[in-house]
């Protein structure tokens, strides 16, 4: 059956789904609970050498002299590499190739942690000791650390070739008549929202091993979310033909968008080629903090106009993102920041601009939500403020402005082809949340907040056409099992499990009959990056296409064997079965063997190429109940409810994990996580200073629910789901704080001190009586 036909009968088939929709355990869970799973840091090769980088201590300085002579003499040292040892371009970057593998003598370092030299030694300790012996003479230069100032056309430049420190082009989305829109407005909410730098703090820092191959090529065993792009970038950066580079992504201890760019990869390849021996390079946690990309700090000035009865008339916004020293994913991230500023709302007149500034701060790049959490916080907070100003219920205000199926949102013109379920999600969330909390006597004030978002799931990580196709190879084995090969990476998102389930479903076998080969660039077709909540949708569609092709061949052979027309057959119970007479069947493995004898290919390649970059829309609603300690400003999250429409759920257990995990990252973003810098230097260099939520910080009660409206274009009706809860929780929390104590927090994170200070300021102004809101779902009917 062709995918299109499949979708036509999606509802019918849903009733018969055996494997899809079940909370089967992750395929890699047994290895991970026993310690057998091999992560990057666990790689051990015979005769392996160890590496350590000498990194810049300054955010901006010219390297006057790099003296490696003492390091070279240190016992155990095998090689010391500098920029002079990099044969290729010595630059890389997905959108702008501006990041050096190693900074050369005479050139300038642009951030603390820029690598200057690599030491390879017999032991990790010798490498570390020798790296300390590398003498670097710096001529310190003034760092540019303020993104707004950096965008001044006359500002000093981080990269000489980028005047005004503009990283990529400004992104402007405009339509309607802004002046008229604001003229029609009875009220205008004006606010400046700022969000902070957030660190992924994945539990496994970057690591890997490279091996020089006898043919002059190199194999790099190291995790990445984008194996094929790393292959291409690595080849140019170090001057190898791409066909001599093999990337084998190893299971990663977390990624969250922070492992899209190259990290250890080019350095490892250089060192292995130089020494001819396997080389291991594992970054310390501090190195990972200093050298890996973060979530962009962002400042957004917003004007939102509406009529007295709560109809939005105009939206204007200007975003400045701190890109740090190198472009990384910035040009794509800023598009999402601009896009998410629109929310799921009908806005007739608008102009939203976004710019990324180069600075000498740490690199900003991809991070789950990809620019969306910043602007979702802004627009949802502005909507909640608007509701307050107009004296309209925040639920009702949203209903008045929500987009409808068939409409085309301003950002990335893709018609909304599924029902816009935001009202239903919000209603469900409020029902699940139950009665709103009431403050008791004492210093704690409680409040309820809400927010909604409309995440797109994306084919390319921000509409920049890096790739728009998803290759996949499906093989049926002689014993009736299946192997699915695709570019991807396993970092906990569970792509292999989802693919095993979907493949088992369509082939009439069980998930344990399916193995996935992920990412090894020598073994898989190009399928695109593991980003943008795209994998289940794109790979699922590709798999269905491959399965349809295979099925046709299998049924041809099986039909002869069973003396039945191929159209009368189906795949079930590891057999090809005559639909009308299920006892007439032949084992799938036998059919495969028969195909082999007949010279019929039992492997199928599929290439799913969506015609549109954003693949579709999903919908989320969040309700948060919280308590503010009015004396300390500290927030306790009492209850969260998240309801998502992500189409058909492939694995509810894993989806729930994605939702809870995203929610706690968003809670960290809202309340505590803040990778602060001063003059380009990290003030929170370790997990001691950089606070990520512990198990004691989670909501007392957390409910997740889904509305399963199948998307007719998705595999089994599925849409993307990986990033969604990262967007709506922060504005819901800030709304809850306002409901509790009457102050708006426009700058994240809402740390205890910030909340307390906002309350102090409010108290010094005219106090207004605070009344608790009556929450009901009746406002939904507008």
């Amino acid at each position: 059956m062709k995918p299109a036909q499949y979708h036509e009968s999606v509802e019918e088939r849903a009733k018969q789904l055996r494997v899809v929709g079940r909370a089967v355990p992750s395929v890699d869970a047994p290895a991970k609970v026993t310690g057998r799973a091999c992560f990057n840091v666990d790689l051990r090769f015979p005769g392996m050498l160890h590496a350590k980088a000498a990194r810049s201590l300054h955010p901006h300085a010219r390297l006057v002299k790099v003296d490696t002579s003492s390091a070279r003499r240190h016992p155990g040292v095998v090689a010391v590499l500098t920029a002079a040892d990099v044969p290729g371009l010595n630059r890389f970057g997905d959108y702008i190739a501006d990041q050096p593998v190693l900074v050369a003598e005479g050139a300038t370092v642009k951030m603390v942690g820029d690598p200057i030299a690599l030491v390879v030694a017999e032991t990790e300790r010798a490498a570390a000791e020798a790296a300390e012996l590398i003498e670097v003479e710096y001529e310190e230069l003034t760092p540019i650390d303020d993104p707004e100032g950096a965008l001044d056309p006359n500002a000093a430049r981080v990269h000489p070739e980028h005047p005004g420190n503009l990283c990529g082009e400004p992104v402007i989305v405009e339509g309607g008549d802004l002046a008229r829109g604001f003229a029609e407005a009875d009220v205008v909410i004006e606010a400046c929202y700022s969000t902070q730098r957030q660190e992924h703090a994945y539990m496994e820092p970057e690591a890997g091993v490279a091996v020089a191959e006898p043919d002059g090529g190199v194999t790099v065993y190291a995790g990445t979310q984008a194996p094929m792009q790393v292959r291409a970038n690595l080849a140019t950066a170090i001057g190898l033909p791409e066909h001599k580079v093999r990337i084998v992504p190893v299971t990663m201890g977390g990624a969250f968008g922070g492992k899209i760019d190259m990290s250890v990869h080019p350095g490892l390849a250089l060192m292995a080629l130089k020494t001819g021996r396997p080389v291991r390079w594992a970054w310390t946690s501090e190195e990972s903090f200093v050298a890996s990309p973060k979530r962009h700090p962002a400042v957004g000035r917003l004007r939102l106009g509406a009529t007295r009865d709560g109809r939005i008339t105009a939206l204007e916004a200007d975003w400045i993102l701190d890109g740090g020293a190198y472009a990384s994913q910035s040009p794509a991230v800023v598009r999402c920041t601009v896009g998410y500023t629109f929310g799921p709302y009908r806005i007739p007149n608008y102009r939203v601009q976004g710019r990324v500034a180069y600075t000498h701060n740490p690199i900003s790049g991809g991070f789950r939500g990809f620019g969306g959490p910043q602007s979702a916080f802004a627009i949802e907070s502005a909507m909640n403020k608007l509701a307050e100003r107009l004296g309209i219920d925040p639920v009702g205000l949203r209903m008045r402005n929500i987009l409808q199926q068939g409409e085309v949102p301003p950002w990335r013109a893709l018609v909304m082809h599924t029902p816009v379920t935001v009202p239903r999600l919000l209603q469900r969330a409020l029902e699940l949340a139950g009665p709103a909390p009431r403050s008791a006597a004492g210093p704690l004030r409680v409040g309820r907040g809400l927010a909604v978002t409309m995440p797109v799931f994306d084919n390319s990580g921000g509409a920049v056409p890096l790739l728009k196709g998803t290759g996949l190879r499906l093989e049926v084995t002689g014993d009736g099992g299946a192997i699915v090969r695709f570019e991807s990476a396993e970092y906990g998102e569970g792509v292999a499990t989802a693919l095993a389930q979907m493949t088992a479903e369509v082939l009439g076998i069980e998930p344990q009959d399916v193995s996935c080969v992920l990412g090894d660039t020598a073994a898989v077709p190009k399928s695109g990056r593991a980003v943008g909540s795209r994998q289940v949708y794109c790979l699922g569609n590709a798999m269905l296409a491959a399965a349809a092709e295979l099925q046709e061949r299998l049924f041809l052979v099986a039909g002869e064997r069973l003396e039945a027309s191929p159209a009368a057959l189906m795949l079930a119970e590891r057999c090809v079965v005559v639909r009308a007479e299920p006892s007439r069947r032949v084992a799938l493995g036998e059919v495969v063997q028969a195909c082999r004898v007949r010279g019929i290919n039992t492997e199928a390649n599929a290439f799913y190429a969506a015609s549109h970059a954003p693949l579709g829309h999903t919908f989320c609603a969040a309700v948060v109940d919280l308590a503010v300690d009015t004396e300390t400003g500290k927030i306790s999250i009492l209850k969260t409810v998240s309801v998502l429409d992500v189409g058909r759920v492939i694995n509810p257990g894993m989806l729930r994990g994605q939702m809870h995990g995203g929610e706690i990252q968003a809670m960290g973003f809202a309340l505590m996580e803040d990778m602060r810098t001063e003059d380009g230097r990290l003030k929170t260099p370790t997990l001691v200073e950089y606070l990520v939520p512990t198990i004691m910080d989670i909501p007392e009660e957390s409910t997740m629910d889904t509305l399963e409206l199948p998307d007719p274009t998705g595999p089994f009706g599925a849409k993307g789901a990986g990033e969604h809860t990262t967007k709506d929780l922060a504005p819901a929390i800030v709304h809850g704080i306002h409901e509790a104590v009457g102050v708006w927090i426009d700058d994240l994170p809402a740390t205890p001190e910030r909340v307390w200070k906002a309350m102090q300021r409010a108290a010094s102004q005219t106090p207004k009586p605070h009344k608790e809101r009556e929450w009901s779902t009746s406002n939904l009917e507008v």
Binding site: R22, P30, R44, I698
Partner: protein, 164 residues
């Protein structure tokens, strides 16, 4: 350079020996000298908990434990938990309850859970949280971890598949 110290300890029931520097941490001896890479390593500051092992039954950070302090003692790592045929009930519960994603915190998390359940066989939600404070997880949001530990404690099998 001072002489290396002979170390003799019991790891997962087996006597193991190594020669170590006095300043060497237990996590490095386990991972590099004894090849037991199931114990993870990250911050080396006692914050993340990925290196958690049991030392004489108590969960400790192997990164902040000098190897010499394990001399003559019993160390349990994640490799020592499962039987020949079957997973330990906590491991089984983690698998069934989707209590892991990337899996990097999982060995430490499971060992802290074991230390907790050995001391408090029927913990409340709050007690589970207290027992696992020293183990960061960046993927799961902890909720399914708490469910798995509770299920392991109460001998509960996974919820009926299919529901969310």
């Amino acid at each position: 350079m001072s002489a290396l110290l002979p170390l003799r300890l019991t790891v997962n029931g087996r006597t193991r020996e190594a020669l170590v520097d006095a300043g060497r941490s237990l996590v490095d001896v386990l991972r590099d000298d004894l090849g037991l890479t199931g114990t993870k390593v990250n911050c080396r500051l006692g914050e993340c908990g990925t290196c958690t092992v049991l030392l004489d039954g108590r969960n400790v950070h192997a990164c902040l434990t000098l190897a010499v302090h394990a001399n003559g003692r019993n160390v349990t790592t994640i490799e020592g938990l499962a039987g020949e045929e079957r997973l330990h009930p906590i491991q089984q519960a983690f698998v069934e309850h989707h209590a892991l994603q990337c899996g990097y915190c999982t060995p430490g998390m499971i060992l802290s859970a074991k230390a907790l359940l050995d001391e408090t066989p029927r913990p409340t939600r709050r007690e589970i949280q207290h027992g696992l404070t020293g183990n960061l997880c960046r993927c799961t949001g902890y909720e399914q971890i708490i469910e798995a530990v509770a299920a392991a404690a109460h001998g509960v099998r996974s919820p009926k598949e299919g529901g969310s």
